[in-house]
């Protein structure tokens, strides 16, 4: 999985396979903070590259955060982290085909179409996926790069919601993002995000 991993998009998680532990080395998620797709330069405002603790703390502090996860989540290692975040009680929007991996795991997970979701998120009247109220923070990973980038572009320009990418690609349209990460660093970064979250 050195790339966007189309090959594994539809792989289902093999429940029994072992989840890779986070490597022990010190990581820096602010390097290579250039749009993963070379031409994806939106304008003067581009995401601040952050270390994992930042989104972790913001998630922990947010009143009503939403984790959005997409069709690149099926890799067992990545999925395990998504589940771990979900287990802390954070609501998940499973976009694309990610529900096939995220469903039936006891999470607060809702299928959503990302494009429609972006539209709803821009509507201050929207009451959320469960009708219980809007979101103040959106965090995402595991979504087809350009697709995520376009959806976030709507939020960036037409909403007041903070958007943080914890994906392995630098996402210029988010408010904060990791740089482009190697797989092992990516997993380690997710683990560091998880560390900041309150246990449930």
């Amino acid at each position: 999985m050195t790339t966007k991993a189309q090959a594994v998009k539809r792989e289902k998680i093999a429940g029994k396979a072992e989840v890779k532990p986070a490597p022990e080395k010190v990581i820096d998620t602010t390097r290579s903070a250039v749009p993963f797709d070379t031409g994806n330069i939106p304008g003067p405002k581009m995401a601040k590259a952050v270390m994992p603790a930042v989104p972790g703390k913001m998630l922990a502090k947010a009143k009503r955060p939403l984790l959005i996860v997409g069709s690149e989540v099926h890799d067992k290692n990545v999925l395990a982290r998504a589940v771990a975040i979900g287990k802390t009680g954070i609501q998940i929007a499973a976009v694309g085909n990610s529900y096939t991996s995220l469903g039936n795991k006891g999470l607060d997970v809702h299928y959503a179409n990302l494009h429609a979701l972006a539209s709803y998120l821009c509507d201050p009247e929207w009451k959320g996926l469960d009708g219980k109220g809007g979101y103040d923070l959106v965090v995402f990973f595991g979504i087809t790069y350009y697709y995520a980038s376009q959806a976030i572009s709507a939020l960036k320009n037409f909403s007041n919601i903070k958007v943080i990418s914890i994906d392995k690609y630098y996402h210029p349209n988010a408010d904060m993002s990791f740089g482009n990460l190697k797989d092992d660093v990516f997993l380690a970064a997710l683990d560091e995000v998880i560390k900041e979250l309150p246990k449930r």
Binding site: T2, S71, Y111, N113, G131, Q150, F158
Partner: protein
Amino acid sequence: MIVKKGSFVIEGLENVQINIGKIGAEQEQAVEGPTPRPEVISLRNWDYRILDRYNPVYTPTSDICDYCTYGKCDLTGNKEGACGIDLEGQSARQALMISVMGAACHSAHGRHLLHYLIKKYGEDHLIDVGPSNLKAPLTETIMGIQPQTIGDFLPVLDYIEEQLTQLMAAANTGQEGSSRDFESKALHAGMLDLLGMEVADIIQISCMGLPKSDEKTPMAEIGMGILDPKKPVVICVGHNIAAPAYILDNMDRNGQFDKIEIAGLCCTAHDMTRYNRNAKIIGSMSKELKYIRSGIPDVLVTDEQCVRADILKEAKKLHIPVIATNEKITYGLPDRSNDSVDAIIDDLVSGKQDGALLLDLEKVGELVPKLAMKMGPIRKAKGLTALPNEEEFKKLVAKCTKCLQCTRDCPQSLPIGDAMAAAAGGDLVPFEILHDKCVGCGRCDYSCPVDIPVLNVIEKAAQRVIREEKGKMRIGRGQIGDPEIREEGRNLVLGTTPGVLAFVGCGNYPDGTKDVYDIVEEMIQRSYIIISSGCAAMDIGMYKDKEGKTLYERYPGRFIKGNLLNTGSCVSNAHIAATTIKVASIFAGRKTKGNWEEIADYVLNRVGAVGIAWGAYSQKAFAIATGCNRLGIPVVAGPHGTKYRRAFIGKPYRKEDWNVLDGRDGSVVNVEPAPEHLMITAETKEELMPLLAKLCFRPSDNSLGRAIKLTHYIELSEKYLKKMPEDWHVYVRSEQDLPVAKREQLMKLLEERGWKIDWEKKKITEGPLRKVDVSFQPTNVPRLCKEAKK
């Protein structure tokens, strides 16, 4: 004296011109609706109805505007630029521009064809599209006239061009300021696009003997592996049949079909096979660079649209002469239209010139086969190809440093480095998979810091699968004839045929061409009617089942459930949209002439048709989608579609958005969100399929129809997303709407949701949004209500 159409002047009365025309006939053509020849503003009320429910969603690719010299203006966060436009306005303006460009493309194509066909066949050449009274549904609905001859389309094109100029003007700096009105204008452009396509295809069908609503057209061969590369090979690239027709005629006359291989790339391929059964199809636009690099073509003929900009440069490297035949694409080539065929051939064969612009199509017809016969042996002798040989290949793949640069430049982010590594280890499968997903754009070639010609490496590695790339496509049939509509219309409107799915557009798929095959196979087995056109129609024919049969061979081509229809090239798209008009007219007796709003309202509320442009890349595809939207047809694009920057997405949670009127009395009725969106994208095919099923619901569906649609919606969601849809219940009005097999189970679920069930009578007593009402007449247009009419 037989008075014929035409003009003459009486001697001595030089100032008097007598035109014999259709003045009488015109009187029969009473306009039936309020908006014949709609101006920019005429259908704005309808547009507002759409836009109020299906809100434009903007996903800018750039936060900056550089339209004028005040700029560049930073519009981040919806700030205003120096002219006062904000990012929402600018995004809507871009939507307008893209629609206008697309519409201009098809209309300019139609204009070129009409000039040429009138010159050849005369203005009075009769329209003949097959067994239909409603010959030109879009023309009737928009223009309010019923064209009889190809000359009748002249004012249609004049109208389109006038309107497009008005719209283009509105996009200038300092013009329209409202995003809503930019969208209304974009919808206008989309409608004009449908009209332009209809003109283009009807005139070529009528004059050039293309199939006329023929459900049983023969199969054409398709694929990169179908040609005999030992013969001289002529490849035509583009969309406009005019030039290839001359070549085909010439080859026919000279009996050269066994001597020369002739095939098309992109939509020209469609029309070549429609015109002459001896033509073959290489594939969609994605194959252009790949096929040229293979070195197989000996002559390239270009016309217009979807022709790569670097064709001349690429062809030149392999000494393949390029004959440009249309003034829209001239490549800087010398205009040889007035030179002798032999002189041109000499210059091309000798390599003195790399190509020629030849606007005299008769000469094109004469020159191309001759040139191919000369070039073929010369080029084959030299073995010209861009692909590396085995040894070079090994060296190249070994050079790769897995730097990811190519992946970052690749529109599909393909894992090229991994495939290089695998190939270095002797495993070509990753490259074979990559070949299917690769759109052949060539950007990776520019990326590689160690100068690996990446695309060539991919193609070399995929030779095994390429040789097997031999499919079949049912040749484009043209329109859906009135009789077929008469037969199927009721099923469609009542919902007993679950829906019409139109697979259209280009090959910028998110995950390879096979997706389209997989989706079509799934949906056709579920009895949806599948219509197709353009590159999508080609890609559907590229794959085979275990018995070696393509979908076209497995499923018949009638407009009836479980059939697979190919209308033809991109301009044949018009017929798909027009089919919904036919349903409104033939099945429901709606008046068409000059009556767009009523027709579109009918389609939106009653005709369960959805367009799928899974790999849409072009401005044209966006214009078509926008035109379909104005006609009330929802469209879904693949994830790349977000880069069109505007979608029309409904908000099911806003109850008030889903009020319609009951045509019987004008009362306001709250209905389910159906169709939920007018233009939206999905990330993967698994997400797409249940979405399609959902978008086929319409407020007018009866119980049987609802049950069928629900079945597929639920099954597809469970199959591909591993879940029951969260909103299936909104489409239920009574227990009759529940699929019989699952009725009990579903009623339990409804009870859990708080619905009241009378378990004895097996009846839902409380819960649904509204009751069943078989004669409900949903409409969004107040004036169409009986009450209002008084």
